[in-house]
Amino acid sequence: PGDTSVLAGLYGPAEAKISKELPDRAALEVLLRPKVGLPGVLERSREQLLRQTCEAVVLGVLHPRTAISLVLQVLSDAGSLLSCCLNAACMALLDAGLPLSTLFCGVTCALQPDGTILLDPTSRQEQEARAILTFAIASSERKVLMANTKGSCSVEEMQQCLAAAQRAATTIFQFYRDSVRRRYSK
């Protein structure tokens, strides 16, 4: 906890290239840059996950024919990277003042071989776990925006992880509020 960090930069709504513009909504693009090396297939699939989550909350119909670009740079990775990216993306959207229908946060659950659930696992715990589940939870009624699973688990175990993640989401949303309050009350 505290050693995974991602830097997020949001640009837009700006003029889009004619080939990329959509006539009725904003075109959202996410770029994820790993700490070392060139972006590979894992980064591409994570970019699509983040893009679809963000598209579900951003009110793109207010800015047709524009492009919104979100660039994420991984500074350090000590586990739970995908949910760190989700949190960074949401805070970037908040800070830029883009119209959103709801906030969201990312929570990672690790299911250990003996059945216990660990929230926000470290890299070590992720490797030893039987399954890793990442959820994007919305702030309105704690609905699930995105669920990503690596490994195998039963349906009951997934439900338990989801319930734990929804409870943990409250802490993260409180952190968002505190950060924004600190920013605007210098």
Partner: protein
């Protein structure tokens, strides 16, 4: 009663019909100027939309000039269009902004604070030095005072007003007028 108007702190300006903004001329395309207003696309300004402009009498606008005008067309589906005359054909303060002076960007929240009816900031500043001021709703402010140093002092105070309380501002101005 029962309806609330919520203004949120945004960095990006979204063109709204009727807003007065400061635009920077980026290109001349035939009969129309392209202006950067800080939104997602450039606005267009016809050369006939100035007071006293005719086909023979074109306004002297160059690339890089500052223009103060208002939007006549500004919605999410169309390219924004600006004019420098009001509905009766008079310029009422709009048009090309003169030489010299200093253009800088502030947040939209500060602009709304400065343009509020009972804003003391500008009154207090005018007692310090005389200056010319143009405020654009797109977050841009243009200031011109007698010397470059006075201009920069006014710029710094306006930028700092974002975070200063009224007390701190009065203290800062008192220190400057004492100098």
């Amino acid at each position: 009663g029962g309806a609330f108007w919520v203004d949120s702190q945004q960095k990006r300006y979204v063109p709204v019909k009727g807003d007065h903004v400061i635009g920077i001329v980026t290109a001349k395309a035939g009969d129309v100027f392209r202006l950067d207003v800080g939104g997602s696309e450039p606005a267009s300004l016809s050369y006939l939309a100035f007071e006293g402009a005719t086909k023979r009498n074109r306004p002297n606008v160059q690339v890089g000039d500052l223009i103060y005008g208002q939007f006549v067309v500004a919605n999410k589906d169309m390219e924004p269009e600006m004019v420098c005359i009001d509905s009766s054909g008079k310029s009422s303060g709009m048009g090309i902004i003169g030489q010299d002076g200093f253009l800088f960007k502030v947040s939209l929240g500060l602009i709304r604070k400065l343009l509020a009816p009972k804003c003391e900031i500008i009154q207090e500043l005018s007692q310090l030095y005389p200056f010319e001021l143009v405020i654009g709703m797109n977050g841009r402010i243009w200031v011109k005072a007698k010397t470059v140093q006075q201009t920069l002092i006014i710029v710094n105070i306006l930028e700092a007003c974002e975070y200063m309380t009224a007390e701190q501002r009065k203290q800062a101005l008192a220190k400057l007028s004492g100098n």
